[in-house]
């Protein structure tokens, strides 16, 4: 079942799979289309929490062709993250798939988060760590926190969004102009 809370939607991957073990390009593409249907059914949602509860095993091709391909397609507009991942072998295979597609993917648990796929440069990493501590951040907040120029902070946030680490949205600034806000994928 999909539960809509705030601007995120939960998708239980197991419900889209035939068996608890997912494998292969073909099944990955079948699940991709089912996922796409869920995403299109919730245009208001910006984040999709993909629960791996009940998924026993996957290879590398299955996640690459399903969740990770979808995350790549919607990069910077909509975010996809994983929940309920307890198995290290699953994590390894999803990490390999994310690396192959060059698409970052966060795994969340009550203890915090883990980044799968490509890692940001050291310069971007500390901005990402700061972003992960907040639901949304602005350029002004980052510039103030790190004592950088607004331009420098803006470039780094833009780079993180373009690479798929955070989401980027427009909102009206108190001054009346357009301001970008950056949202963590959680």
């Amino acid at each position: 079942m999909n539960a809509v809370k705030q601007n995120w939607v939960e998708i239980r991957l197991r419900e889209l799979m035939t068996l608890p073990d997912g494998w292969g390009v073909e099944e990955g593409r079948e699940v991709y289309h089912k996922l796409l249907g869920r995403v299109e059914a919730h245009p208001e949602a910006s984040v999709f929490r993909v629960s791996l509860g009940g998924v026993r095993r996957t290879d590398v091709s299955f996640p690459r062709e399903s969740v990770i391909e979808l995350a790549h397609r919607f990069r910077a507009q909509k975010g996809f993250c994983l929940w309920d991942v307890s198995d290290e072998n699953l994590v390894e295979n999803w990490d390999a798939a994310a690396l192959k597609r060059e698409q970052p993917l966060f795994v969340w648990s009550r203890k915090g988060c883990r980044l799968l796929g490509p890692k940001p440069s050291a310069g971007l990493r500390k901005v990402l760590d700061f972003a992960l501590e907040h639901d949304v951040i602005t350029t002004t907040q980052v510039a103030s926190h790190f004592r950088w120029t607004t331009s420098n902070a803006s470039n780094k946030l833009r780079a993180l969004a373009d690479s798929g680490y955070v989401l980027r949205r427009e909102q009206t600034a108190p001054t009346g102009g357009i301001e970008y806000i950056y949202q963590r994928v959680r």
């Binding site: 073990d21 292969g24 390009v25 095993r57 290879d59 091709s61 192959k100």
Partner: protein, 284 residues
């Protein structure tokens, strides 16, 4: 057939004799099955002749060999009247009988079945669960690769095959995945654009296919064989790769497969396809 290979263009009649005292291991059985079906598909008259109906013939019957053998192949003295593989399918702890890999009939549970049967055979290992999960990755990626080839090479209507056999005395389990396509080197080489890769020998290129995940489909694909090898290497699994004209035996060293620890035999008799045999150790 002495002095000539069965696929030679002048051969129109092939007889393969199996002596009475011969034992056939599962990897040899699967390659033999592929060869016979290839020969039969190329309109040659093919005879498989056993000196007696026990021994090797009994084992081949147990693994469903004759069910999957082309009906155009003549078996002497005669084909078994009952398939013991069909009769006792799934009843032996150390065996997964031959399964067909055919794109039109995808066996969704096959990688799970192979991995769990291997896990059961390794139940004395402390890392049985991890091994089973890694084996699932190995088998699913390799089998998926075969499905992809069968689909893409539409002109190739020959099935691929999978089987598993545990050899307790040898402390090993062999898992065989075999197809009758063009072979990974034949399909990959024409698509290579990197000059360094183009200069590699067959052995070196096979190593790189499993180490880097090279794919004729470009960078977004090709993780299958690499993922498969990465999972296999964790358990010191040896990998035998029979290609149309050579065989490369990969032995893990320093956490990877390397060209300088691989054995290669070239100028082998033609056998179409890619025939992989993973050798898993049963004990820690």
């Amino acid at each position: 057939m002495s002095g000539v290979a069965p696929h030679d263009k002048n051969v129109d009649h092939a007889v393969i004799r199996v002596a009475a005292n011969v034992s056939i291991m599962v990897d040899a059985a699967v390659r033999l099955l592929s060869l016979l079906n290839q020969l039969a598909a190329s309109t040659r008259r093919v005879v498989l002749e056993f000196e007696n109906m026990d021994g090797a013939m009994g084992y081949l019957n147990r693994i469903r060999f004759f069910e999957l053998l082309s009906s155009d192949v003549v078996v002497k003295p005669r084909r078994p009247s009952v398939s013991m593989g069909a009769l006792r399918k799934g009843q032996s702890a150390g065996l997964v009988e031959l399964e067909r890999i055919n794109y039109g009939a995808r066996a969704k549970r096959l990688p799970t079945k192979l991995a769990e049967r291997l896990g059961e055979a390794c139940s004395e290992r402390t890392d049985e669960k991890e091994l089973t999960d890694a084996a699932f990755t190995v088998f699913s990626e390799i089998i998926d690769n075969v499905y992809s080839h069968v689909y893409e090479e539409r002109q190739n209507e020959l099935d691929g095959f999978v089987a598993l056999q545990v050899y307790k005395n040898g402390n090993t389990a062999k898992v065989v995945v075999s197809d009758s396509g063009k072979g990974i080197l034949h399909t990959l080489r024409p698509t290579l654009t990197d000059a360094k890769l183009q200069r590699l020998s067959d052995t070196e290129l096979v190593v790189e296919i499993f180490r880097q995940g090279l794919s004729r489909h470009g960078n977004n694909r090709g993780c299958g064989l690499k993922a498969s090898a990465d999972s296999a290497i964790k358990y010191k699994t040896q990998l035998d790769v029979r290609l149309p004209n050579c065989v490369v035996h990969l032995i893990p060293a320093r956490g990877t497969y390397e060209a300088n620890t691989a054995y290669c035999r070239e100028n082998m008799p033609l056998l179409w396809g890619t025939h992989l045999c993973f050798d898993f150790r049963l004990g820690n």
